[in-house]
Symmetry: C2
C-alpha cells in the first residue's frame, strides 16, 4: 500500500513545486517522512500520489522472481517521481536513507487539467524518464565495470552538487544493482579509480568521494 503508517509522520503543508503548483487546497499536499528502507509504493500498487523528494533519496526498482534487483533510478532532493499515465506503478520505490517527501493526490491533479497543460507537463516528464532509461541501456549493455562506475560518479556529482565533492546516500549494493554489477565489483572499481588518482575518499564510511579529476573520469567513461 502507498501509505504505511507507523514509521511515518504526517504534516500537512502548502508546498509549491513542479506539478503541484496546480493544486489549490491545503489537503492536496502533504509532507511525509519515510525511514531508511521503508517502501514508498510497491510494484503494481495503485498510483494515487505523485512525489517529490524534499530531503533524502529514493530508489526505484524492479525484482525478478529469484530476487535479482534492477534499480532503474535514484531520486534525489528536488526530484519528482511516481508520475505515470497508468493506474498502477511499474516499480517499487523505497527510501534509501531517512527521507522526507512531499506528496500530492493524483486525483487533485486530474481535475485541474482543463487546458491540457498538465498533459504536456506529464509528457515532458515522461520524456525525461525515457531519456534517462535510454542512456542507461547503453551503460548496461556496452560498458565495463570501470566505465559504469565512472559514469555513475559523474551522474551523481552532476545531480548532487556539481562541485566534485559528493556524499553518496546509497550503499555499494544499491550502486551495484543500478549498474548491473555485484557490490564487490563496484568496490574494486572504486579502488582502481582511487589508485589511478581519479577519486579520493574523504571519510571513514567510504560514502564521501572527491572527484579529483573529472577529465580522467570522462576519458574512462566513453560518451555516445
Amino acid at each position: 500500500m502507498s501509505l504505511p503508517s507507523d514509521k511515518i509522520t504526517h504534516r500537512n503543508s502548502l508546498q509549491e513545486f513542479g506539478l503541484m503548483r496546480k493544486s489549490n487546497s491545503a489537503e492536496c499536499v502533504s509532507e511525509v517522512f519515510f525511514e531508511k528502507g521503508t517502501k514508498v509504493y510497491g510494484d503494481n500498487e495503485p498510483a494515487d500520489y505523485v512525489y517529490q523528494v524534499k530531503t533524502g533519496a529514493v530508489r526505484s526498482f524492479k525484482l525478478l522472481s529469484d530476487g535479482r534487483r534492477q534499480i532503474g533510478a535514484f531520486h534525489l532532493a528536488g526530484d519528482i517521481f511516481g508520475v505515470t499515465t497508468e493506474k498502477h506503478h511499474r516499480f517499487t520505490a523505497e527510501a534509501v536513507v531517512d527521507t522526507t517527501l512531499w506528496l500530492v493526490r493524483r486525483q487533485s491533479l486530474d481535475l485541474a487539467d482543463t487546458d491540457g497543460a498538465l498533459t504536456r507537463e506529464l509528457l515532458s516528464m515522461t520524456v525525461r524518464n525515457l531519456q534517462h532509461a535510454e542512456s542507461q541501456l547503453l551503460l548496461l549493455g556496452q560498458k565495463d565495470s570501470l566505465e559504469k562506475v565512472a559514469a555513475f560518479l559523474l551522474e551523481m556529482d552532476k545531480r548532487l552538487t556539481g562541485t566534485g565533492a559528493i556524499t553518496l546516500p546509497m550503499t555499494r549494493r544499491d550502486i551495484a544493482d543500478y549498474l548491473g554489477l555485484t557490490l564487490e565489483t563496484v568496490s574494486r572499481a572504486l579502488a582502481r579509480l582511487k589508485r589511478k588518482g581519479a577519486i579520493g575518499f574523504t571519510d571513514a564510511t567510504q560514502r564521501e568521494i572527491t572527484l579529483l579529476n573529472k577529465q580522467r573520469l570522462l576519458v574512462i567513461d566513453p560518451q555516445d
Copy 2:
C-alpha cells in the same frame, strides 16, 4: 540527412494509420523504400518525420565513440517510430532488411493539434517506449545470456506472429547488440536452447526458428 536519394523510391500515397490519421493533404504521407543497411535517420539529425514500417524491419541504436553499439529497439511491420517531442533524434535508425516505410512530415501533425488529442497520443507512445526501455533495463542488467536470448525469442514471437514460428529479419550481431552480448554468445545460447529441445531451426540460414516449447522458454526467462 533524413532522405537519402538514390537508394530510395518515392511514391506519394494517402495512407491512413495511427498518428497519421490527423493528416489531411496528400503531400503529407509518402511511401519510401529503404535498401537493407540504409540509414533512415541519424543521431542528432532534425526529427522532421514520423515513420511506420509497412514491410521489413528497422533497428534503432546508439553508438559509443569506439564503435560499440547498443540497439534500443527493433521496429517491425506496423510499428511507428521516430516520434519525439524534441527537435532532434536521439538514435540512429537503419533498415535491417529491405524495408518500406510510410512517413509523414511532423510539421503537418503539429498544425493539427488543436484539441490536445495529439499531445495525448504522443504521451501514450512515449509511455510505451518507456515501458519497453524499462523492461530492457532489467534484461540488460540482471539476466544471463540464456535468459536474454530466451526473452528475445519470446518478444519476437509475440510481435511477429505469436504462433511460435518466427523468421528473424536481423543477424546474430544485431541480436547481440540488442542484448548486450557478442554474436558468438548469442549463437551458443541458441545452440543450447536447441539442445534443450526448446527451439528448432527450420531453414538453412538459421533465421527461421520454431519455439517448440514456450513454457520451457518462459521458465528459462525469469519474469518480473
